[in-house]
C-alpha cells in the first residue's frame, strides 16, 4: 500500500494510481511514485492490547505509518482474566470433546480405554491448568489481554 499527502489529507492506494492530478498537472503512467509524493505505508505490528492511531508521515524514514497506542478497557483486571480463562477452557473443552466418545463408549461397554488416550486427555487438563495459573498471575490489563492462548 502507498499513500500521499494531498490537500490536507492523506490518501491511501493499493498501488500507484494510473492517473493522478495535483497542482502540477494530470499525471499519467507514474513510475517513480516518490517523485510525486507517494510513499509506502508501513503497518506496525500490534498486540491485542494495542491499536493503531491516525496515519502520519514519518519524515525520518520517509514512509506513512501509524502510531501504536494502548487500548483502554472498561473491564477490571479480574473481569479480563475471567474472559481469558473462559476462552482458554473453551479451547481445551473442544479438544477434549474429540475423544469424549471413546470414554463414553468404553464406560458403557466396560472396555479398557487406551492409555494413550487417557494420557493425552490428562496432559490437556494439566496444560489448561498451567495456563490458567499463568493468567491468574498477571497483574495488568494489557498483560492479561496479550496472554497468548495455545493453538490447539
Amino acid at each position: 500500500m502507498i499513500a500521499i499527502q494531498h490537500e490536507g489529507a492523506i490518501k491511501k492506494f493499493t498501488a500507484l494510481p494510473k492517473v493522478w492530478t495535483d497542482e502540477n498537472g494530470t499525471h499519467l503512467n507514474i513510475t517513480d511514485g516518490e517523485a510525486f509524493g507517494f510513499y509506502p505505508v508501513v503497518m506496525p505490528s500490534t498486540k491485542q492490547s494495542e491499536q493503531l492511531g491516525d496515519i502520519y508521515f514519518d519524515d525520518d524514514n520517509e514512509v506513512f505509518t501509524y502510531p501504536v497506542e494502548s487500548r483502554t478497557f472498561s473491564q477490571t483486571v479480574a473481569e479480563l482474566k475471567e474472559d481469558k480463562i473462559s476462552e482458554l477452557k473453551s479451547l481445551y473443552n473442544s479438544k477434549l470433546a474429540k475423544t469424549d466418545w471413546i470414554i463414553i463408549r468404553d464406560q458403557e461397554l466396560g472396555n479398557t480405554t487406551d492409555q494413550t488416550i487417557l494420557d493425552d486427555r490428562e496432559q490437556l487438563r494439566t496444560d489448561c491448568a498451567t495456563h490458567e495459573t499463568a493468567i491468574n498471575a498477571k497483574t495488568t490489563k494489557a498483560s492479561v489481554v496479550d496472554y497468548e492462548l495455545p493453538n490447539l
Partner: protein, 116 residues
C-alpha cells in the same frame, strides 16, 4: 474593408471540402517541444524519452485534438485535463483524445490503445 456575408451565393451548402479546411483540422505534427498549440494541427505525435510535461495553448471550447504518444515515462498534462476513460500504457502507442468543454479551463481526455 467591407465584410462579405457568407450566403449561398458566396458559399454553397455542403461546399466546404476537406481540402478547404485549415491545417489545424487536417495535419499531424510531431511535438518537439512541450507545448500543444491547438491552432496548428489536428494530431500531435510524441515519443517520450523521459518524463515530460505538456502544456496547451490556443484552446477553445469545442476543439477536439488527438495526441499519439509512446514511451514508458510519466506524461503530465495540464491540471485542467480530466481523464474520463482509459489508462496510459507506456509499452504501446496511446491515443489520447482531448475535448475542450470550457476553453483552457476544462478539457476531458480519453486514452486508448490498439486492440490486441
Amino acid at each position: 474593408m467591407a465584410l462579405t456575408k457568407v450566403t449561398s451565393a458566396v458559399l454553397n451548402d455542403d461546399a466546404v471540402s476537406y481540402d478547404k479546411l485549415g491545417n489545424e483540422f487536417t495535419t499531424a505534427a510531431a511535438l518537439s517541444a512541450s507545448d500543444v498549440d491547438f491552432s496548428t494541427a489536428q494530431v500531435f505525435t510524441k515519443t517520450l524519452t523521459a518524463n515530460d510535461t505538456l502544456t496547451f495553448s490556443n484552446v477553445s471550447t469545442g476543439m477536439v485534438k488527438d495526441l499519439v504518444v509512446t514511451g514508458d515515462f510519466t506524461l503530465t498534462l495540464p491540471a485542467s485535463v480530466k481523464v474520463i476513460s482509459g489508462t496510459y500504457d507506456g509499452t504501446v502507442s496511446n491515443l489520447i483524445q482531448i475535448v475542450s468543454t470550457n476553453g483552457a479551463t476544462e478539457q476531458w481526455a480519453s486514452i486508448s490503445q490498439e486492440a490486441v
